[in-house]
């Protein structure tokens, strides 16, 4: 296999806070090949954004990072130390969640796009302006010349996000990281933006990391998916495998929160009970144990490590879905009516397929 474009190995990111070390990312690893899309899925606080920021060298100075990040064979973390300025924004770029706050409100849109071109590619003012106009056209903005002289507040949310994407693409990056690019937008606009990202990625042979809390978003658009929870990888596989053979209870639970067309009407959506854990005080055992219906006694004291189930499919669980251990644990909980962590099994009633 050729050298992957991006290779992250055992990434750990912690923040020194008053209350102790907050482990935002704890042992994340993945490889991304040229032109491929990786989907990172998780709730807020799962560490997905922090991972992205680590790659982009956007962490505050009180962050402690360990592990390695290699881009095309080069050590990204060493670059941060040396202040290599023409890497980020050129080879690796990022699109954030809220386009309104990502854009400088007092600067014209055209200027903000042209910036990267002038600073990194040394284009002249006029060249940069023309290129910016082209970019706006490529991202599907009507009347691009007119938009160049407008301010962010004069554009709608969808257009603004397109502008941000244009900004990110200005220097033809090889990797684009999109952190919840559609969460702040209207539902109707979301699909357009995601389609746009797909198109652009294909045209340019760009690799992409798509970060979201919604499994549905990555289903048709990612080549591989990584599910994160409390800073750790729970399950990692290529997309088809993940959906057909999901193993981690968290992945399964996530899938169940998505409404589907073929559901019986009035079926209840099953939310995941409880809330994400306190990242400073994680305790032992699996971080998801308290909210998991497959929880067994060992889950509470013994943290499961990420194990390769098959080539290209890893999972960190003691009682994965679809295994004997998993079925046994589930049945045991079903009988007692409560998990070893104290979770009432009744909360999982009336999902599709009558699972409890």
């Amino acid at each position: 296999m050729a050298t992957p474009l991006l290779s992250v190995t055992d990434l750990q990111v912690g923040f020194a806070t008053e209350r102790g070390l907050l482990r935002a990312v704890d042992g994340v690893s993945f490889d991304l090949a040229e032109g491929q899309t990786l989907g990172i899925v998780g709730e807020s606080g799962s560490g997905k954004s922090v991972t992205a920021k680590t790659l982009m060298n956007l962490l505050p100075s009180y962050a402690r990072v360990e592990g390695s990040v290699m881009f095309d064979g080069r050590d990204v973390r060493a670059m941060a130390a040396e202040r290599e300025r023409h890497f980020w924004g050129v080879e690796m770029t990022m699109v954030f969640q809220d386009p309104m706050t990502s854009l400088n409100p007092v600067k014209k849109v055209g200027e903000q796009i042209a910036e990267s071109l002038r600073v990194h590619l040394k284009r002249s003012r006029r060249e940069a302006r023309d290129d910016a106009g082209d970019l706006l056209q490529q991202v599907g903005i009507p009347e691009p010349k007119k938009r160049l002289t407008q301010y962010p507040h004069e554009l709608s949310g969808g257009l603004r996000q397109r502008v941000v994407i244009a900004m990110a693409l200005a220097c033809s990056p090889r990797l684009l990281i999109a952190d919840e690019p559609t969460t702040a937008l209207d539902v109707t606009v979301q699909k357009h933006i995601l389609d746009l990202l797909d198109e652009l990625r294909e045209e340019r042979g760009m690799a992409m990391i798509l970060i979201t809390h919604d499994l549905g978003v990555v289903k048709g658009r990612a080549d591989q998916i990584m599910v994160m929870y409390a800073g750790r990888t729970m399950e990692q596989a290529d997309t088809a495998t993940l959906f057909s053979e999901m193993r981690h209870p968290y992945t399964e639970a996530l899938l169940e929160t998505i409404p589907r067309v073929d559901m019986a009407s009035h079926s209840r959506l099953v939310p995941i009970p409880g809330s994400p854990p306190d990242a400073v005080d994680l305790g032992q055992g699996c971080p998801f144990a308290e909210r998991c219906r497959y929880c067994s006694a060992s889950c509470l004291i013994d943290q499961p490590s990420l194990e390769q189930h098959r080539q290209g499919h890893a999972c960190a669980c003691h009682a994965p879905v679809g295994t004997d251990a998993g079925a046994a644990a589930h049945a045991a909980n079903h009988e007692t009516g409560v998990t070893p962590a104290g979770l009432d099994m009744g909360t999982f009633a009336t999902a599709v397929g009558e699972k409890t």
């Binding site: 956007l58 980020w88 770029t93 990502s102 400088n104 409100p105 600073v119 941000v164």
Partner: protein, 334 residues
Amino acid sequence: MIVLARRLAQLVAVVLAVTFLAFTAMNTLGDPLFNVVGFVAAVDCDAVVAGEIEDISSQGGTTLGDCVVVAEAREEFHLNEPLPIRYGRWVGDLIRGDFGTSFKNRIPVSTVLADRLPKSLLLMGMAEVFAVALSVPWAIAAAYRANRAMDRASTIGAFGMLALPNFALGVILFYFFVVKWQIFPSRFEDDNLALRLKSLVLPALTLGMPLAATYFRLLRTDLITTLQEDFVVMAKAKGLSNRWIMFRHALRPSLFSMVTVFGLNTAALIGGALIVEQVFSIPGLGRALVEASIRDDYPVVLGATVVIATGFVIINFAVDLAYSYLDPRVRRES
């Protein structure tokens, strides 16, 4: 355009109200006759004419002729007419450049103003230049090292500076730089521009340092806030250098508060100039106003007040315009 015309109309209305207030105050609280004729008016002319008072000199007048002067003055200066009409005449004179005559040397007030105003303007201009030149780099440096040693020390220093009244600061600077070390001249020297500027350094510093402290605090806080905005993170994600981000992204939006205060602070600037001129014996407009006040030289007081108040209103108006130009979001609404 319509908006501009309307604001100009507002400006004119305010200026008229301001001058009317001053005029009315002078002519109702003070004695209008006195304003015009001076000390002579202390004499009770009716009594003198009736022979009831023999010794006029004790009353402040010198000859019977003074009473004639008083009567003539009443006529000539239309003092028997109602206030609004007198105001109208006075404004008319004002527009033609006639501010009346000073009691002191019978010099036209306009001459006094023309002589004194430029020096005050030079002083205030220098003070603002010092203030901005000091505060902007200082604020940028402090915001960059937010909450570290340099920043904390600066914040405390600025706070302390603001607690020191400008006359106190002036006296302290005067003591060290004029009396003790004799670096700067002790009086205002007018021979050439260089000497003039040199004489104004200490007063401009006195006036400018508290301003610099205020600007510093505002700009630093705004810069720190702006630097935490998402678009700054975005700019970093684009790989732009910290210097570029600071000067091309963060600085302009952060300047708004400072610019607003620029205009608001003009009041403090003018008041401060009054005091600073006194401390350093600068023959400026402020000093003229104070001296005239003490001497009860009302034409000068009125003239100076009107110039100062009107100038102030105009400056605020200009600042408003500048503000709406700087912030494109405000521009739409205005």
